[in-house]
Symmetry: C2
Subunit: 331 residues, 2 copies
Amino acid sequence: MTHPAPLVDIWRGDLLESQHTGHAVICDDTGQIVDAWGDPDAVIFPRSSCKMVQALPLIESGAADAFGLSDEHLALACASHQGAAIHTDRVSRWLDDLDLGDADLRCGPQAPADRDAKHAMIRAHDTPCQIHNNCSGKHAGFLTLTKHLKAGPEYVDIDHPVQVACKDTFEKLTAVNSLTFGIDGCSAPNFSTTVHGLARAMAFFAAARGGDTRSDAAQRLVQAMTRFPELVAGETRACTELMRAMGGKVAIKTGAEGVFIAILPEKKIGVALKIIDGATRASEAAIAAILARLGALDADHPAARKRLFGPITNWRGIETGHIRTDAFTKS
Amino acid sequence: MTHPAPLVDIWRGDLLESQHTGHAVICDDTGQIVDAWGDPDAVIFPRSSCKMVQALPLIESGAADAFGLSDEHLALACASHQGAAIHTDRVSRWLDDLDLGDADLRCGPQAPADRDAKHAMIRAHDTPCQIHNNCSGKHAGFLTLTKHLKAGPEYVDIDHPVQVACKDTFEKLTAVNSLTFGIDGCSAPNFSTTVHGLARAMAFFAAARGGDTRSDAAQRLVQAMTRFPELVAGETRACTELMRAMGGKVAIKTGAEGVFIAILPEKKIGVALKIIDGATRASEAAIAAILARLGALDADHPAARKRLFGPITNWRGIETGHIRTDAFTKS
């Protein structure tokens, strides 16, 4: 087994204070590795980074069209949103349209990460509902497919038709037989794959030009994510800010425990990475560095610079350190 | 250079999802290494883990007695508190007693981490003051020493008598010449040392039995920390809960970027560790595992088990994973 590679350095003054290691793969649409760091065959859980794969059966089954889902719905199905009003209002209406409600969700209640929504909830002495959960859009998608299939209400069970379809799709796109699954933060099964497998799935999305059911669906999801970056995460968040910085040409998605993916349609390239220790600050820096290396992201754009360099500041606003991603700089 | 050692594993289902590496040293009062993982000579910033060292000049100078400081004041001087009323009320009174106020602090404003204090502040549409900063007790100590020395108000400047005294004390106790310093989150200088050096300083505190000015001061600080664990951090926090679980026999202190120390007076042993990626979940697990290994902490105590094992649960309260610290289990 190849060891994880040092990917992201955290400096304070002139001392390397902390360091993040990981695995990263850039893959073309034939499944070939274009570039890799660490071990491409490392087995990981993709976590929320693969929500667009989990949304494919929603479209391929005909459910999305049967229920008239728009690109906004599809962007939310691929989202880890922060529970802002723009997210929860849409998910509420979506559930209404299905004649369902918050109690039909199985993602669990989560306090919004969005500052305004969080403060409003605290001031009103409210408690969060399941629609506030960052995965509520994915779950609304699961419920749409469940209704379309006339399946039972426990749609996160491993043998429920929705999850069977998700697993089958995931294994086909990654070209890896999933060795195991974990229960995700939102209670849905999350299937293991390799970093290479995840990058290969993203290259499929990148190369999708329509012409068959799966390719149509993949293209539509990428379009939904890039058209509505604010629905995929939210203000101040990396997915939203970096997708905006790339002018809608690239779809990216974060996952818990240090996973990040990118879909580059112009280059027909997919990217996947995993930070071994699970740190978000490092997965954000690493994906920004890879996107800059690929010429898709301007490293001097403020949204890029914030992730690639920092600066790290303290409670008085004094610059105390910075981030470095030399591992991804072309020599 | 020795590589960092795998110290803390994060499992989801039956997959090792994430892993934290680091350096750890258990040291006796002669400076000898009793046990070590990774590289004892790795250079680190101790961050807030060395606040008891920064508090020594406060006592040794005579300032603490001149201003009538109690063990509660001294516990706060060693604290990274969470801005609860029990912390901020005491720091406010302390500043009053010095005829000083919030504006004399140089730590910067930080929102309280304490849930009640944070919610009250949001409901009142208040903004945090400097007394809410987790380091405000340390800074009240700096101001006390500043006043005693009749020094200037910029007490976090590197050449201010307070910081000169801190550096001198730190280098003597660690037996390491500090190679560099960083600016900490609270704007005070933080001097580099080795993991071994930091453990050696903690062994000095552990072995302090009084008899001279420095030993008296060290013993008094350990007593203050172990008598008032709730002032050193706060409810639900690792330092507070684990010190309580050990019945006041051991002092422990966290530092940013994955540092943790322990002082074991009964064994005259000091511990220091640094998680390479800076993760708090890992530094807490590692210090709990070392304390259990040393027989100071009951691994089955709920406060210990929470850090050593978890379980990791999701938004519906379902157990999705757990923590492992096999690296510290005696073979």
